[in-house]
Amino acid sequence: MEIIFDGIKKAFILISNLNSEVSDVTLLSIKVSGIATIVSVFFGILIGAFLALTNFPGRRILVALVNTGMGVPPVVVGLVITMFLWRNGPFGFLEILYTPWAIILAQILIATPIVSGITLAGIQHVPGKLKIQIKALGATRIQFVLLLLRETRFSLFAATMAGFGGVISEVGASMMVGGNIKGYTRVLTTATVLETSRGNFDMAMALSVILFCLTFIINQLLTFVQQRERRK
């Protein structure tokens, strides 16, 4: 119990002192997971909308793949990407293993299926009559898709939050492809693992508190945007 309180206390001390190492790690977490989430939201909505609105042989398999992708352990994604990015691997020439870009790439692959899956479910949930109505009013194909996305914006926000939650909290892939290099690829989750294995349990607890607060604030912002129409 003592360690937990020490940790919470330490978290507030670290935040109020603007400890440079901790703020660097926190900022990198925000940047990496923020960029990864935005890219995944873009591709995820495209894929989700495409799968929801088209019909072709093999579509169900793709949907099943997306749904499976929602549950693939990050460490598996990390392992596969590491092997591809090894300098003697097929994409070794890129020389991005053990850089923040490798973490972003891994996180995009983790979050895209999550966003796609929720978008897909959201669009399919729109009543069929509404779709007919939009078409009947003479909407072009692009207008049709944009209107549907507008109708499903609550799901899209939920998808964004789930995607962000998935990547900010993931540790396996970041550890493998980033290498947890101090001041370069160390993010909040990998720093927490390291401090735990060093026996600095209060520091690990403090980092966890910061991670929780950060996730809470960002979800609070997204929820605020999502819910603001309800109050009108």
Partner: protein
């Protein structure tokens, strides 16, 4: 809706550009990054965070330090995914050199292995003098023993010790594999009241972190020797043999050896690693 979209795009562009420049700044060195794969026990001690920045500042290389178990480190070296290794698994290191994967192997420091157990010591290991006797006692009395089970250097030594005393514990139910690093295995041993084999550095760090005294047997003849291995460069030309050589030379230099010898004295009461780059012959006698 419109303003939130704009702010998203802004966030994306701003951070991507900023991250791009901060990365290229970090890697601005013309000498190219050195991939330094190290064993977790050294990394977790914090020693490298003192030495590596010195090396980077003085020699102008950027070092990417990756902490993994010795087993994985050696495999990464064989695949030429690393430029230089810091490991403590002498048998595997010799094989690595004999098979021509490495260009040079140098011993830089050592400490001891300790058999660690709960404070009240139900198996009575403190009455023994060597690690082998302690392990035999644990097996006789069937006390719970935690094995790393991860092919790390410590795990290799543990397996060797069991086979040397002619006991195969792998099927016994008092023998459990944690699959965790040394620190967390010690923590688990502490929580479960179990025994385990540890290097003396991690043991010192964790007995301080857990604010407890564990019973232990320090085997003066069971040395835990750390070596640096320079990996032979690969054909692809993406290796950095010059950086590896520079780092290896740096680690055995007198000044750095002195820093290693003093590391941890203030915090743990005794040094965590004993430098030995200059007394290799002496160590060979011990083995």
């Amino acid at each position: 809706m419109q303003s939130s979209k704009k702010s998203l795009v802004f966030f994306f562009l701003f951070f991507t550009i900023q991250l791009y420049f901060s990365c290229s700044y970090t890697l601005a060195s013309k000498k190219g990054p050195v991939i330094f794969v190290t064993t977790t026990s050294v990394y977790d001690s914090g020693l490298l965070e003192e030495l590596i920045p010195l090396f980077e500042r003085e020699k102008g290389y950027v070092v990417k330090t990756i902490a993994v178990g010795s087993g994985q480190a050696i495999v990464l070296g064989k695949r030429k995914e690393a430029d230089i290794l810091l490991v403590h698994s002498p048998e595997e290191e010799k094989e690595f050199m004999v098979k021509g994967f490495g260009s040079r192997r140098r011993t830089i420091m050592y400490n001891y292995f300790v058999v660690v157990g709960p404070k009240n010591d139900p198996c009575g290991i403190t009455t023994t003098r060597t690690a082998k006797e302690a392990l035999r006692k644990i097996a006789e009395r069937k006390c719970i023993f935690l094995s790393r089970g991860d092919n790390s250097g410590t795990h290799m030594v543990e397996k060797r010790l069991w086979s040397e005393i002619g006991i195969d514990p792998s099927k016994e139910n008092w023998y459990q594999e944690t699959g965790q690093g040394m620190g967390l295995t010690l923590k688990m041993a502490f929580d479960k009241g179990a025994y385990t084999l540890s290097d003396s550095a991690t043991y010192l760090i964790f007995s301080k972190a857990l604010k407890t005294n564990l019973s232990f047997v320090k085997d003066e003849r069971l040395l835990n020797i750390y070596s640096v291995l320079e990996v032979k460069p690969s054909m692809s030309g993406r290796s950095n043999p010059d950086g590896a050589r520079a780092l290896s030379d740096f680690l055995i230099s007198d000044r750095i050896q002195r820093i290693i010898g003093n590391f941890g004295k203030d915090k743990y009461g005794s040094s965590l690693f004993i430098p030995c780059a200059r007394k290799k012959m002496e160590l060979e006698k011990w083995r």
